[in-house]
Amino acid sequence: MSEALFDRLGGEAAVNAAVDIFYRKVLADDRINRFFDGVDMDKQAAKQKAFLTMAFGGPNNYTGEDMRKGHAHLVERGLNDSHFDAVVENLGGTLKELGVADDLIGEVAAIAETTRNDVLGK
């Protein structure tokens, strides 16, 4: 089922089309961009790509443990539900800009949602 979503979205080409738009939205969003200050942008873009692949229902080996470890330093700096919501909003905005139908955007948001507790260290 999730493989099918990845294909319906357009697979890897869709991820490539989305990554610049999504990352630009995130960096321009004053609610969350402070969490990206001082990061290596090339490495960060690769992480965004891996995240989008996962959220698009594509192949991934993410584990809850990775998510917790990867975001623990941000949780210490105050990362909370409002910031997670902002990222999901930017994700939806990106897909809308790419002309993706609302029901597919809903499926992507639902996959992203499954990571919330791990990302926020709950």
Binding site: E12, L27, M41, D42, A46, T53, G58, P59, N60, N61
Partner: protein, 324 residues
């Protein structure tokens, strides 16, 4: 079946097996995540043998040209030797051809290009001094145009390598350099694209290499080179770059001075700010940024937000300048 050589050990592939599966099956610990050629966390470089085309989809062009590939997506057709990027280096001995002062602080060092020394303009190499200390310097020369290697070295007060270059090194001396690395290079294709090159200090060196290489390869889109310094005296190669501007319709040289009133033909302000004032929309541009780390990191973000794609921004921050 093909053999994979990794960190000096041989690993036999099973039929249809990827390089990643071959290594992990035999107990080698390597980075990976998606196993689908998307996340790029398993990227390695092939030092011998050809990566398959499928294993280079989506990789930055400059890295592709250097043999980078995704081991999860490569079912090898031939034997390969692979390495984690940046650990593939080897060293070369070569001869100093000349030393020449470009301004009060910057020295041009030309070295004989060793046989089989491959590099792309805009890459950097490690230069080893007489006590074994290594510092990285960018190449300003272009294979095909120059038969020497050229470095532009700023004399840092107390600098162990730059001080040695300025005070001790002489034409005819033998020095040790490392293999060139880095991905701030021009690659052919899209020759009508607009190019933005911004550098401070000796960040000019790789950018001059990139600009000359682009012209040599027939680039016909506009190439805008911004070189910044606080004072006119901090700039260098000004007459040469003015001449290059006059000789090439596609090439535009923008010297920038941030303190005082600049002389005619120069722009006032920091190079990064002036460039973004001149070109506020950068969708479709290719961008090269070299020099002070804070300038490069800031401008990388600003040019991305101005519309340049991440895959079209090539940044080479000079780190640890204080100890250079």
């Amino acid at each position: 079946m093909p053999t994979i050589v990794f960190e000096g050990q041989d690993y036999q592939c099973e039929p249809g097996e990827s390089v990643l599966d071959c290594l992990t099956r035999q107990g080698v610990s390597v980075n990976y995540s998606c196993k689908a050629g998307v996340c790029q966390s398993c990227m390695m470089v092939a030092t011998e043998g050809e990566p398959t085309p499928a294993s280079q989809v989506g990789i930055k062009e400059t890295l592709k040209a250097q043999g980078h590939f995704l081991i999860c997506s490569c079912v090898p057709e031939t034997d390969m030797q692979v390495a984690v990027p940046d650990r593939a280096g080897s060293s070369f001995d070569t001869t100093v051809l000349s030393l020449h002062k470009l301004n009060a602080d910057v020295v041009r060092l030309r070295l004989m290009r060793p046989d089989n020394y491959d590099y792309l303009p805009g890459q950097f190499l490690g230069l080893v001094n007489d006590t074994g200390v290594t510092r990285s310097y960018s190449l300003a020369s272009v294979p095909g145009l120059d038969d020497f290697l050229e470095l532009q070295i700023r004399h840092v007060p107390g600098g162990q390598v730059s001080g040695w270059v300025v005070e001790k090194l002489q034409a005819g001396d033998t020095v040790t350099i490392s293999q060139a690395a880095g991905q701030c290079s021009y690659l052919p294709g899209r020759e009508a694209q607009s190019l933005l090159l911004v550098g401070t200090g000796t960040g000019l060196a790789p950018l001059v290499g990139v600009a000359r290489d682009a012209l040599q390869q027939g680039h016909n889109g506009p190439i805008h080179l911004y070189h910044g310094s606080s004072t006119v005296e901090g700039l260098y190669l000004v007459p040469e770059l003015v001449a290059m501007d006059e000789a090439n319709a596609a090439f535009h040289y923008h010297p920038c001075v941030s303190q005082g009133t600049p002389p005619q033909g120069m722009q006032s302000g920091r190079a990064a700010d002036v460039a973004l004032e001149d070109f506020a929309r950068l969708s479709g541009w290719r961008v090269f940024l070299c020099g002070r780390e804070d300038m490069v990191r800031t401008l990388q973000k600003k040019t991305f937000l101005a519309g340049a794609s991440m895959t079209d921004i090539f940044a080479d921050p000079f780190v640890n300048l204080a100890v250079a």
